[in-house]
Symmetry: C2
Subunit: 494 residues, 2 copies
């Protein structure tokens, strides 16, 4: 059985298959009976819950509140914002009827033609339209602003090609929708939220990201400006990990949402929206994991420490279990989540492999000799190294090590990104390196959608973002030779 657990495809041979194997074998998620929709299994969902808790706290600390808006949106709402409908109409789940009835042959059910909706409803692909139709009634005066709402919800986008976590027809996310009196406030909010996402990615997911703005053609449908965080996966492809949109007055105008200013003037409201999704679980997996399985940063690991007893007799097990219960209590009192795995039908080696696969950051193992010496074997998942440590002060040792692991995973990912970020000025060199090892490419671009499109068609690489911290630098577009004033990031992306 230990063998079966380990049967991950080799990451370096087939990254894509390695990822799929890992999601399944680590019990994170699986495909469902409904095409493109996943089942998030308890272990995967526990990671999402950790993400939710951390993000929710950050949102609340910055003055946001949660609310809930309807799943279903009248079809006509979508068309109110011209670009929005362009972006989303093509991938909508459409509800047309509200009843089934027994089929004529009595063997099943069919749609009842008498229960046709007057206006079809779509399942929200994102909630700008239903929310702005609601905000219209909430906003009268400048005193009603800002509105800083977030919702945790499911959304549906009818994707043709899906992959667990990365692109699924239904996914879970949070979407913030804010309304402001002033343009400057909405822009400040948009930036604040991309900063929160970047902070979450780096501090919680141990995943370095580049903050930037999207080019016009990669913008959210209906946004004036889209801010993004872009992470680099271990196969050299980029993954957009969170976006925050400055929506200008587009939705306020589409839904006629105005307020009376302090000066008594009627003005349209300014807006932002921002979201991250269960896609982050895919990012987490692809940013860190290896051929032994998941590597989870301690802050998001459902189980931070597993303790495995090594014994030959019931007597030894009883002795060890008693000692372990003391250790467990010490760890728990430090807020560390611990599992003691004393299942008696599995060998220690199998358990070790299982927890490596599941990315548990620290594994402790105690045998009879450790018991006598008041020691315990401590194994790190990130480095796969082991040491024997004293049971005295074990909670402190583990707590410090968890922090170190959190940091180390980040440092390793940062180093990987540095090694795989190339400054390039020549299009042929770019294409060669892109095929060769991928990664991020800092290159000049002439700012036209045409060049962007051609590069995409020729190389499948897209402009991931124009980094916020990109210095002014005179240069020439690597494709057209036209002048450019700063480098942007090109990469192939998920």
């Amino acid at each position: 059985m230990a063998k079966e657990l380990k049967e991950l495809t080799n990451r370096d041979e087939n990254y894509s298959q390695w990822y799929n194997d890992l999601v399944i074998k680590a019990d994170l998620a699986e495909n469902s009976a409904v095409k493109g929709c996943m089942v998030i299994k308890p272990y995967g969902y526990a990671i999402w819950e950790k993400m939710q808790q951390a993000l929710d706290q950050m949102f609340k600390e910055t003055g946001h509140v949660n609310a809930y808006f309807p799943l279903l949106i009248p079809k006509s709402f979508l068309s109110k914002e011209a670009q929005h409908v362009e972006g989303f109409a093509k991938e909508c789940a459409v509800v047309t009827h509200y009843r089934l009835k027994a089929s004529p042959d009595g063997k099943g059910v069919v749609v009842d033609p008498d229960a046709k909706l007057e206006e079809e409803l779509i399942i929200r692909p994102t909630s700008e339209t239903i929310i702005w139709s609601t905000y219209k009634n909430w906003i009268k005066s400048y005193r009603d602003l800002p509105i800083l709402c977030n919702q945790w919800a499911n959304v549906v986008r009818w994707e043709m090609r899906t992959r667990l976590f990365l692109r699924t027809t239904e996914f879970l996310w949070q979407e913030g929708h804010t309304a402001h009196a002033l343009q400057s406030e909405a822009i400040e909010e948009t930036k604040k939220m991309i900063d929160i996402y970047a902070n979450f990615a780096e501090k919680w997911m141990s995943m370095p990201v580049i903050k930037g703005v999207k080019s016009e053609s990669e913008r959210f449908a209906g946004a004036v400006e889209t801010y993004t965080i872009e992470a680099l996966m271990q196969d050299g492809k980029a993954l957009q990990s969170g976006t925050s949109h400055f929506l200008g007055q587009n939705f306020a105008k589409a839904f006629d949402v105005t307020y009376t200013s302090k000066e008594g003037k009627l003005e349209h409201v300014w807006a932002s929206s921002w979201g991250v999704s269960t896609r982050l679980i895919g990012a987490l997996i692809m940013a860190h994991s290896d051929n032994n399985g998941l590597i989870l940063p301690p802050k998001l690991a459902p189980i931070q420490v597993v303790i495995v007893p090594i014994y030959k007799s019931e007597e030894e097990l009883a002795m060890i279990s008693e000692r372990v219960s003391g250790i467990k209590a010490q760890l728990i009192s430090k807020g560390i989540s611990v599992k003691y795995d004393d299942r008696d039908n599995l060998k220690p080696g199998f358990k070790f492999a299982e927890y490596e696969l599941k990315g548990v950051p620290i594994r402790l193992a105690m045998g009879p000799r450790d018991y006598q010496n008041s020691t315990i074997e401590l194994a790190r998942r990130d480095t796969l190294t082991k040491q024997v440590v004293s049971v005295d002060g074990i909670a402190e040792t583990v707590a410090n090590l968890l922090e170190e692991i959190q940091e180390n995973i980040y440092t390793k990912a940062l180093r990987f990104r540095a090694e795989n970020t190339t400054t390039v000025d020549n299009y042929d060199e770019f294409k060669e390196l892109l095929d060769d090892k991928g990664g991020f490419f800092l290159a000049h671009w002439d700012g036209t959608a045409e060049t962007e499109q051609r590069i995409k068609e020729e190389t499948k690489a897209t402009i991931r973002c124009i980094p916020l911290d990109a210095p002014e630098e005179e240069g020439k577009c690597m494709y057209s030779g036209k002048p450019s004033s700063r480098r942007v990031i090109f990469a192939r992306a998920y």
Copy 2:
């Protein structure tokens, strides 16, 4: 403006309108642009979050884990369990297409006839079918059991008559779905969960409930036995507040879910499912609130204490604010949620009315005299009484009082229920009292669906449950005169 706030319909004159007014005016929820679907506003959602936290902890402490299953269910799944399809097919939102396209006149979007699904999907009205189709792959041996999964999700049931929180087309809930090797384990789980719901209702919502089993005709579609908790609202109507179903092997057989027992035999799995929903917010409102607004039990109140400064000058405000910041810190350190409302455009009287409307359990108000005397005025929402207390030890005073309020709201509701529970043996007397004051009626019933149906048709009262603690008692059915061995509870219900 204070007047407008108070304009609740009188509870005793029109209970139904009072409820609707209160939900709107206390900013809990509102109707959306989509018929029957509500928007849960931040204040209402904050109550739901408190409910979720408490329940989620109880579920986890009893060994349950969260997971997430698809929103969409293939139409054919519904028909696999004969009673289940009977119960749910008539109120399903049906997804038939996956794309919209520009309408011929270019002014909107229409359903794209080329994007018709091969098999229609329904939006989950409950998830037994999709979950049991998934469990089939999770379960091979007795070692894979039990499975104790819960999910927090939205569901859709196409209701014709809707009311905010009480009956909405889309609602939020949790649904637990467990799988067991033995019948006895599944029954034990079913009972354990109804006990958890009862405990939550009583300890958190301060709402007494009667635990019982449903009559056959009121059972969940697909259940062998349905356990329920029934609460009494202030208008004398019952509200079903949570249900836990023993599903027998019905879904295991429908989806062919079997396991190999310790003895090597292939057996069908046993199941339970259980859920509570945002309906509980409706119950909470109707169980306790009055003509001044909401009365919230402290454990579920988004704001437990509000502090209002009373001042004439900026100077006084500054002094008071400084003292209040110390008090606020003390309260927060005890885990009490506090809001300091120093908005300068509203009079204290308006604020008082607003927080009464919103059900904040304790209001503190400090004026210049209080400042000098080191006192503060303390007002209780549940009794509408006021007293002046010392600022010394205020955190202790408030903490104790919050507990007292939690208890007092419960006691009051319990007394109300006792006063409105009638033991009745005569059908005419039953009908008269039912019209007169409503409430719970303990009556003998002959156990037939026919009698139950007739009583329902003649009086609109239904059997809420057969209480678990109902003593054996020889008697005669109040309707048919046939023998009965215990009393059941009749009531009109939401």
